[in-house]
Amino acid sequence: MTSTGSTSTGSTATGSTTTSSSGPRAVTAQWGIDEWFVVVLARTIRDAEVVFHGFASPCAQVAMHVARRTHAPGSLLVEGATYAVDPMPGFVPPTSNDLALHRDAVYRMRFEEFFDAACRGDVDRMFLSGGQIDAYGNTNVTAIGGMPTPKIKLGGGGGGANISATIGALTLWTTRHRSGRTLVESVDFLTDLGHVTPAGSRAQLGYTGGGPQWLVTELGVFDFTPGGRARLTATFPDVTVPDVERATRFDLIVADDLAFVPEPTLEELGAVRAVDPLGVRRLEFGPEERGRKFRGQATTAR
C-alpha cells in the first residue's frame, strides 16, 4: 500500500481496480482519503447496533449506509433529519432533509419518536463532529470564540446537547484536524458532551450514555483512555506522529501499539461509491486533503 500524495485536484477518485498477480481475490485498487475516511467511520459501527447521524454530516451519513451494505447488515440506521429507518437511497443529496433519503424505507420515525428513543437509551451510536473538539471529546458546534460574542457563529448543535448524554456510544469525527484549530485544549463553547466536562464527569452528571468511543480525523484514529482522554491508535500511512502532534493542541497520548489504519476492502470501496455517486462526502474536505490518493492490494474481505 502506497500513498500517492496530494496529486489530485480534488476530482472524483474513480477507484479503478485490476486483477493482482498475488491471487484471484487480491487486486490493485486506488482510493482517495474521502473514501478511506468514510470506511474508517463505517467500521466503528458494530453489527446489530442502532445508529444515527445528525444533519450536515455527509461523511457519517455515507458511512452508515456503507456499514449496512458491508459488515453491519443487521444494524438499524436512522437517517438524520428524515428519521427514515433503514432506507436504501440511490444517492445521498447534499441536504439532509430530502425525500431521496427515504427510498425504500418502510417506516419513518416522527421527530419526537427518534429523540425519545435516543433519550431513553435505545440508540447505540451517534456520529458527532465539531468545529472544536477537546481531549475528552467535548465538542463545540455553536461558536468559535464562545458566546455571546462569537468570533465565528457556527450553525448550532441540533439535539446533541441532550442525546450525547444518553446514546450508547459516540463516534466523533473531523476532517479539519490538520488545521491545528480543531483538536483544542479547551472548547470555546461546550455544545455536546464528551467524557469529562468542567461541571463533572458523565458519572457525576448522572448520564447513562457511554460517551465518545472513537475520534476519527483525516490524520488518524483515536480511542479513549479509561480516564476519558483521546489516545492516538492509528494513523493514515501518509501521516506521521509529528504531523499529528503539530495539528493537536491538547497533550497527545499515543498508543504503544500504534498502527496504520487498515486498508479498505474492495467491497467497502464499492459501497462508498454506490452509496454516494454525487460525492457529497468530499464536501467535508478542504482542497489540500482531497488530493490524497492511495493504492494497494485490496482484498475482497477485511
Binding site: F55, A56, A81, T82, Y83, G90, F91, P93, P94, T95, S96, N97, D98, L99, A100, H102, R108, R110, F111, E112, F115, C119, T142, A143, M147, P148, T149, P150, K151, I152, K153, L154, G155, G156, G157, G158, G159, G160, A161, N162, I163, S164, A165, T166, F189, L190, T191, D192, L193, T197, P198, A199, G200, L205, G206, Y207, L278, V280, L283, E284
Partner: protein
C-alpha cells in the same frame, strides 16, 4: 375558552394572514433545514417590515437567515441555522450574531421539543435529559433544576413554550384549514398544538375529501388562516411537488454573505414584488422534474 378555530372557511390573503403576526411575536417556523420552510409567509413578513421577532424551533436555514438579513429578528432560539455542508454557514445569521445585532439563545432539539410538549400538555414545565455540563445552559438563565421525587436525580427543567404564531407550509389543505403534510413533519405537529395561532400556506387548496384521503396531519381546528401559495416553500423543497433549488439557495447565500447592495438586489428581485412575481422568476418545471428518474433527481443536486 378554547383556542380551537371553529370556522369553516379560513381562506385569506397572504397579506391579511401575516398582518396577524405582531412585531415582537414569538414565531415558530415550520419545516426544517431546507425542506418545507414557510418561505412565502417569511417573504410576506419581510414585505410588511416586521421587527423584533423571536424565532423558535429546531434546525432551520434560509427562513431564519432571510428574516435576520432584513433585521426582523431580535432573538433566535433555534437549534441550528445554516445550509449544511452544501452551502455552509448562514451568512446573515452569523454576521448578526458576530456583530451583536442578533441575540442567539441557541436551543437544542430535545429541549425545544420538551418546551412545546409542556405547552401542549398544559403543564408549566417538563424535565429534560442532558444539557447539564453544556454551555447551552449559560444562554438560558430561564431554565431551572428539578429533583426527581422518585430517584433523587437532578434534571434540567424547562418552561412551557406557546409560540404566539406558528407558520406552516403544507403541500395540500382545504378551505377549513385541514393540512396534509408528508413526513418528516419535524416539529409542525407540535407547533400546531402548542401555538396560540397557526397560519398556513398550502401549495393547493383542495376539497376536504381530497385532504382527508391524503390524510389530515394538522386538523382544521388548530388552523386560523389558510392561504394558497404555490411554490410557497421555495427555494426549500416541498415534496412530493418540488425539490431543493440549489442554484437559488446559492444565489441567496452569496447575496446575503456579500450584504449591502447584493442583498438589496436579491430582495428587490425576489421578495419586494410579491409572490406572483416571485413565481414568474422560477424554473418550476426543472424542480418538479425529480419524478422523471433517479438520475434526473440526482442532477438537481449537482
Amino acid at each position: 375558552m378554547t383556542t380551537f378555530q371553529l370556522g369553516t372557511d379560513k381562506r385569506t390573503t397572504l397579506a391579511d394572514a401575516v398582518a396577524r403576526v405582531p412585531d415582537g411575536a414569538t414565531v415558530a417556523l415550520g419545516g426544517g433545514l431546507s425542506a418545507r420552510l414557510p418561505m412565502a409567509l417569511v417573504r410576506e413578513l419581510v414585505r410588511q417590515g416586521r421587527r423584533g421577532l423571536r424565532v423558535v424551533g429546531s434546525a432551520h436555514g434560509m427562513d431564519v437567515d432571510l428574516l435576520v438579513a432584513v433585521g426582523a429578528v431580535a432573538v433566535s432560539e433555534e437549534s441550528y441555522v445554516g445550509f449544511e455542508q452544501d452551502l455552509g454557514l448562514a451568512p446573515a445569521f452569523r454576521r448578526a450574531a458576530e456583530n451583536g445585532t442578533l441575540e442567539v439563545r441557541e436551543s437544542s432539539c430535545v429541549t425545544i421539543l420538551a418546551q412545546l410538549r409542556a405547552a401542549e400538555m398544559g403543564v408549566p414545565f417538563l424535565p429534560v435529559r442532558g444539557l447539564k455540563g453544556t454551555d447551552l445552559l449559560g444562554l438560558h438563565p430561564e431554565y431551572a433544576r428539578v429533583t426527581c421525587p422518585f430517584t433523587g436525580e437532578e434534571l434540567v427543567a424547562v418552561p412551557a413554550l406557546s409560540p404566539d404564531v406558528a407558520l406552516i407550509h403544507a403541500p395540500l389543505g382545504d378551505a377549513g384549514g385541514n393540512l396534509h403534510l408528508d413526513q418528516p413533519y419535524v416539529l409542525d405537529e407540535r407547533f400546531a398544538h402548542a401555538a396560540r395561532l397557526v397560519l398556513a400556506t398550502v401549495e393547493r387548496i383542495a376539497p376536504t375529501a381530497d385532504v382527508a384521503g391524503a390524510g389530515v396531519t394538522v386538523p382544521a381546528h388548530r388552523v386560523a388562516a389558510v392561504v394558497e401559495a404555490p411554490f410557497g416553500a421555495h427555494p426549500s423543497s416541498c415534496y412530493p411537488l418540488y425539490a431543493y433549488d440549489r442554484g437559488h439557495l446559492a444565489e441567496y447565500v452569496k447575496a446575503a454573505a456579500t450584504g449591502g447592495d447584493a442583498l438589496r438586489a436579491y430582495l428587490d428581485r425576489y421578495v419586494r414584488p410579491g409572490e406572483e412575481a416571485y413565481r414568474d422568476l422560477l424554473d418550476g418545471g426543472r424542480l418538479t422534474s425529480w419524478t422523471a428518474s433517479e438520475q434526473q433527481w440526482m442532477e438537481l443536486f449537482r
